[in-house]
């Protein structure tokens, strides 16, 4: 019991919300492209580039806010290239996304080497992180106040974006058109809605959020840039997007699950002394299990039919002498 108490308390929830925020931001960005019918595997690269240029911008200007803007701008450029190739030139989404991911990874490493003469990570150089926001009324709320106060600003942005997106898809014209373009492009076309324009818009909004996610990683979550610091969060977001279909609420649930297992694994490492290698695999195992459980129920008709046919084939005698 004592062990459990040390594992599960308000601090764990705080840790969960902290680890959830970056993946939530990038996944919310991906929600736009998913809803618009684009399989955006380039989230990882946009996030990484955002993280890198947020650091550069901060070091150069001295202001983390300008750093955030730089990170967003960099991610936007990558998102624009993605849209140009995928929407205008109709290139394969997966190939383009992977290529841009590799580009982002290589570019950040070589720029790091060129500018700072080092590999590995950047810190110091006058790098300052985003300020922590303490809600003034949180003190009076006891443990709940503890949970909702004391994060860097982009954490709040991430969680507040969820209800905003719900309303966006439900009530705004752009949100509606993004859904229509993703679900039934020919319907959009028949009504004179430009598919290309909607997909560009969705890709660029996605770039903004992926950039914010990156900036949060290097200026909020930590105050440094490390090689490939997005460490698969973009891919995790893609996985969550597939089973949530881009719906903000389901997506939040998926991100929280990931954040929770991430936070729990960190806890277990310090509290229980389990090998860190096993611990590091926990969030991914949880995500895999969740993905499997969810997709098994809503597995596509094709798979269902295949299984049904196989079942039938096995239940029928092969020589055809059954029946009577």
């Amino acid at each position: 019991m004592e062990v459990l108490e040390r594992l599960f308390n308000a601090a764990l929830i705080v840790a969960m919300l902290r680890t959830t925020a970056p993946i939530l931001l990038v996944a919310l960005g991906g929600s736009f492209t998913t809803k618009a019918g684009i399989f955006n595997i380039g989230l990882e690269g946009q996030m990484l580039l955002g993280a890198f240029f947020a650091v550069i911008g901060t070091i150069v200007s001295g202001s983390p806010w300008i750093g955030v803007l730089c990170g967003v701008a960099a991610a936007l450029v990558l998102a624009y290239i993605f849209a140009l190739l995928v929407v205008t030139f109709r290139a394969n989404e997966v190939v383009v996304g992977l290529a841009l991911n590799i580009l982002a990874s290589g570019m950040t490493i070589s720029l790091m080497k060129a500018i700072f003469g080092t590999r590995g990570s950047i810190f110091g150089h006058g790098l300052v992180g985003l300020p922590i926001i303490r809600l003034p009324f949180a003190k009076d709320l006891g443990w709940f106040g503890q949970i909702i106060s004391g994060y860097t600003p982009l954490v709040y942005v991430a969680f507040l974006a969820v209800p905003v997106l719900i309303i966006f898809y439900k009530r705004s014209r752009l949100g509606l058109y993004i859904r229509v373009v993703g679900e039934k492009p020919e319907a959009a076309e028949a009504l004179g809605i430009s598919i290309a324009r909607i997909r560009y818009t969705a890709s660029l909004i996605c770039g903004v959020l992926a950039g914010l996610a990156g900036a949060h990683l290097s200026l909020g979550y930590t105050t440094m840039f490390t090689e490939n610091m997005s460490s698969g969060r973009g891919f995790m977001a893609v996985a969550i997007l597939i089973f949530s279909n881009g719906d903000p609420l389901k997506l939040l649930a998926g991100c929280l699950l990931f954040g929770f297992s991430d936070a729990l694994s960190l806890r277990m490492q310090t509290t229980l002394g389990v090998s860190s290698y096993i611990i590091l695999a926990v969030p991914y195992l949880v995500a895999l299990a969740a993905l499997f459980a969810l997709s098994y129920r809503s597995r596509p008709r094709l798979i269902q039919e295949t299984l049904a046919t196989m079942g039938r084939a096995l239940s029928v005698k092969p020589n055809g002498a059954s029946g009577s």
């Binding site: 705004s172 509606l176 020919e186 009504l191 039938r312 055809g320 059954s322 029946g323």
Partner: protein, 508 residues
């Protein structure tokens, strides 16, 4: 009477192909005006010109007496014309109201006002007698209701003239009847309906005036009341076509297919076949009649190996074939013309030659040592193309670019060119135009003369009466009656189809 629409000398060419040649059309306001013609006669082209989707090379368009140029559908919509396409363009995850107002959302303070949209949709639905639930998601609705939504979309945009392209192709008979009622309601309110069809009964039933197109030219425009079905056929096809009973000799062959006490379940696990027994003899066409959904589909699937039988036997020339694989059943001597040709009949993306080959690609002389003999395939395909009169540019043309009738001829060419003794023919002329229907009927008769045993499943009674030696009527998974094809009336079949038991049914 004022004219709602007047097209004067419209000509539309695609390259060297003339789709419409000097076509004039005058449509009076408050009428249902049918435009009929065979596939490829230029009906849809003409309507696309009127809806601004295509620009005519020559000719003028007048709407409500005013000359108009319609560069795009938006201009046509502004002029009060609405079009309901054959293929619906609805978004499944949106509600009925959202679909109706898509592209012209009602907004309040920048956000979509769902309440107002639902109220407006309900109002339109009320006014025009198109029953829908505005708040329901479209993905859950039937095709008939989807069509109502498409019509509501057009009405919400203020259309006074509505063009419907083959509106009944996807509807059940009940839904069609409801649609006609709605259309009559429209004209009673002073609107005008343009109705494209190649279905004669419908045109006779619903239209006030009819224009016949043939090979891109206008053949005639007359009040429907002055015409008979035979007149329409003659004008559409350009020659007299008869769907009377085909003359034939008596059936003398031995039984080829013997089905006894066959049971099977449908998709939902319910009993779809409840002890079906019958025989088909060599040189005999046995027809299966019935309202769709009374077990005919399941019967065809069980006979072709696509669905397991839970009980009973199927003997083909003395050999049990029930519950064997589709492939084994084909090898045993069953040819199958599936009811849904685009799903099970052909691979749409593949060429005519590939579709002719399909199913025997591993048999000599079509292939040797695992390699397809292209010369042989090409020769055979060319032979079958001319023998079955398949209108295709070449054997390499993808099947999806052929018309429905020609796709069906590809299926028949493949299935009838094997050496199967039993032919399972399901809805051979569904969606096929008159000329092709006649050709397909002749081909089925030719197979009968060649001594094949044929099971013909059809929802079209006139087809069964024209072709079948005996007609079995299915109702709720059972055979209700076994009627001779000679001298049978549609009424007699219809009663059995409705499940009304006549004199003790004789089941062979």
């Amino acid at each position: 009477m004022s004219l709602a629409i007047e097209l004067k000398s419209i000509t539309k060419r695609f390259g060297s192909f003339v789709a419409n040649e000097d076509v004039s059309l005058a449509v009076e306001r408050g009428r249902i005006h049918a435009i009929i013609g065979e596939n490829g006669a230029g009906k849809t082209t003409l309507m696309n010109v009127l809806f601004g989707l295509l620009q005519p090379d020559e000719g003028e368009i007048f709407i409500d007496g005013e000359k108009k140029v319609l560069p795009n559908p938006a201009a046509a919509i502004a002029a009060g014309i609405g079009m309901v396409h054959q293929h619906f363009k609805l978004v499944p995850s949106l509600t009925v109201a959202e679909n109706v107002f898509l592209g012209m959302e009602i907004r309040k303070g920048g956000l979509i006002d769902h309440k107002a949209q639902i109220a407006r949709t309900a109002e339109l639905s009320q006014k025009f007698g198109l029953r829908v639930d505005p708040g329901e998601r479209v993905g859950l609705l039937s095709v008939g209701i989807e069509q109502r939504i498409e019509i509501l979309k057009v009405l919400a945009r203020g259309a006074r003239t509505i063009i419907l392209d083959e509106p009944t192709a996807v509807l059940t008979p009940q839904e069609s009847r409801e649609l006609f009622q709605t259309l009559r309601g429209f004209v009673a309110q002073g609107m005008t309906v343009l109705f494209i069809s190649h279905h004669l009964e419908e045109v006779m039933e619903v239209s006030d005036t009819v224009t016949v197109l043939r090979h891109g030219k206008e053949v005639a425009t007359r009040p429907t009341a002055e015409l008979t079905k035979a007149d329409l056929v003659q004008m559409m096809v350009g020659r007299a076509v008869s769907f009377d009973r085909r003359p034939r000799g008596p059936v003398t062959g031995k039984p080829v297919l013997e089905v006894s006490d066959l049971w099977a379940r449908d998709e939902r696990g319910l009993q779809a076949l409840k002890g079906v027994s019958f025989q088909v003899r060599a040189g005999e066409i046995v027809g299966i009649a019935g309202v769709a959904g009374n077990g005919q589909t399941e019967l065809a699937e069980v006979l072709s190996g696509l669905r397991p039988a839970s009980h009973g036997t199927i003997m083909l020339a003395g050999q049990a074939i029930q519950n064997r694989s589709a492939r084994a059943i084909r090898h045993a001597g069953v040819a199958h013309v599936p009811g849904d040709r685009l799903v099970r009949g052909v691979d749409r993306g593949a060429s005519v030659a590939q579709n002719i080959l399909m199913g025997r690609q591993d048999q000599s002389p079509w292939s040797r040592f695992g390699v397809i003999d292209r010369t042989y395939l090409n020769e055979q395909t060319k032979r079958l193309i001319s023998r079955f009169d398949i209108r295709t540019r070449s054997p390499e043309t993808p099947v999806k670019s052929l018309s429905g009738g020609n796709i069906q001829k590809v299926v028949l060419a493949r299935e009838f060119s094997g050496d199967a003794g039993f032919l399972l023919v399901d809805q051979p002329t569904r969606g096929v135009d008159i000329g092709a229907t006649e050709a397909i009927h002749s081909e089925i008769m030719r197979q009968r003369e060649a001594g094949k045993a044929i099971l013909l499943i059809s929802v079209q009674l006139d087809e069964l009466i024209a072709l079948a030696d005996r007609i079995l009527v299915m109702f709720a998974g059972r055979i209700m009656g076994d009627l001779p094809g000679e001298g049978v009336s549609e009424e007699a079949i219809g009663l059995l189809m409705a499940g009304v038991e006549s004199a003790p049914a004789e089941v062979a």
